[in-house]
Symmetry: C2
Subunit: 223 residues, 2 copies
C-alpha cells in the first residue's frame, strides 16, 4: 500500500516536472520573465499585481495567470487594469500544476515582458510543486504575524524573495518586520526582502527595480 | 495510472474515515465536545483559543491539539494559559489526519470538557479530510478580505460556524462583514456567524454561549 502510493506520487511529480521544464524552456525562448507568487489567502497577491500594473503601464507589458479553487474574481480585477489575465480554477486542487499552466500558455501574447503566476493561496502545497519558474516570491502580510517563516519553512526555502505586504497596517498589528526578515533569512540566507504597501504605493521602487534587473539578466542570457 | 491513483486515494481516505469514527466514538463516550478550527495562516486561531482559555478559566476545562507543519510555538502559547496542549508537527503534510489525532488522544486527561483541534493553517486541504468532529469552525480574519467564502467554498460548506476574527482591524481594512456573512450563508445557509476581536475580548459572549450549549446537548444525548 505505502509503496504503491509513493510510486504513484513520484510518477505524477515526474510528469509535472517534465511539463514544467518544457514551459520554462518556452518562456525563456520567448524572453519572458515568469514570476511565481505564493502566499496565504488574503495576503495581497492580487492587490500587489494591481499596483505593479499601474507602475509598469506604458513601460513593461504584463500578463497574469491566476490560480484559484473557484471564481474568476482575481482575473477580473487584473483585467480591469488593462492587463491580460487567465483564470485557472482548480475545482478543489490545492496548487497549480505545470500542465494547467501549459494549457493557457498558447494564449499568452508573444509581446509580453513579465508573466506573473498567482498560485492557489496556500502556504503549504504549492511550495513543493512545479511550476518552478524563477523568481519565486513568497508574500507575508503583516496581520498574519511575524512568526510564520519557521512554521512554513518550505514556502520560504523555495522562494527567491520575501515580500512583506500590508505595511500600512503595521501600527495596528503585532508584527516586527525585523523579526520576520531575520527568521526568513535564517531559513534561506540568499532571500531578498521587500516591504511594501500596495494600496499606498510604498516600497514598490525596490521591487520594480528587482523585476527589471531580472528581466534584463534573462534577456542578456546571464540568468 | 488514473484508476490506480484514485483507488489509492480512496483507500487512504477510507482508513482515515475509520480512524476518525473511532475517535468520535471515544470522545462522545467521554462526554468531551471536540471543536475543529480551520483557517488560513495567521487568521487568529491560537489567539482565539487564548481568549477562550481566559474566559472559561475555572468554569470549563479545555485542552488543545495543535497542528502545524513545524514548530511547537502554538502549543507553547496555549500552555502559557494553563491549558494542556499537544503539538503535532506534520513535517510537510498540509492537513491533520485522524490517526495523528489518535496518537495523542490517550494523553488527553479524562476530566476535560472541550477539546479544540487547531488544524494546519490552510483553507483548502483540511476541508476535505477527517477529523470531522463537530462543531467545525472556519475562521476568516478581516484583513483577508470579504471575498473569500466563494473562493474557498468547501471550507465554508464543511463548517458549522463562521467566526469573523480581528474585528478590531475593521476601520483599517476593506472588509464588509455583511458581505462576507451573506456570501458564506449562500454557500451554507445553516452556518452560524460570530464576529469577534479576541485581543479586545469583543463578541466572545455569543461564541462561548454556543460552545456551552453544544456541550450540554452532547451530554444530554441530544447531539
Amino acid at each position: 500500500m505505502t509503496t504503491k502510493t509513493i510510486t504513484v506520487v513520484r510518477d505524477l511529480l515526474a510528469t509535472n516536472k517534465q511539463a514544467a521544464a518544457a514551459i520554462r524552456e518556452e518562456l525563456r525562448g520567448r524572453g519572458i520573465l515568469c514570476v511565481n507568487l505564493l502566499s496565504s489567502p488574503g495576503s495581497g497577491k492580487t492587490t500587489l499585481l494591481e499596483a505593479l500594473a499601474e507602475r509598469f503601464r506604458g513601460r513593461l507589458r504584463m500578463a497574469v495567470i491566476e490560480g484559484d479553487i473557484e471564481t474568476e474574481r482575481d482575473a477580473e480585477r487584473i483585467r480591469a487594469k488593462g492587463v491580460p489575465a487567465w483564470q485557472i480554477t482548480t475545482g478543489g486542487a490545492c496548487h497549480l500544476e505545470a500542465r494547467m499552466i501549459g494549457k493557457v500558455l498558447g494564449d499568452v501574447p508573444a509581446a509580453i515582458d513579465l508573466l506573473f503566476i498567482e498560485n492557489v493561496s496556500n502556504l503549504v502545497c504549492p511550495a513543493s510543486y512545479e511550476p518552478d519558474e524563477r523568481p519565486r516570491f513568497v508574500l507575508l502580510s503583516t496581520p498574519e504575524g511575524d512568526d510564520k517563516p519557521a512554521k512554513y519553512p518550505q514556502a520560504f526555502l523555495s522562494a527567491d524573495a520575501l515580500i512583506v505586504t500590508k505595511a500600512d497596517l503595521l501600527p495596528y498589528v503585532p508584527f516586527d518586520p525585523a523579526r520576520a526578515a531575520a527568521e526568513a533569512l535564517s531559513i534561506k540566507p540568499s532571500l531578498k526582502v521587500f516591504t511594501v504597501s500596495a494600496v499606498r504605493g510604498a516600497g514598490l521602487d525596490g521591487l520594480a527595480g528587482f523585476l527589471v534587473e531580472s528581466l534584463e539578466r534573462l534577456r542578456s542570457g546571464r540568468a
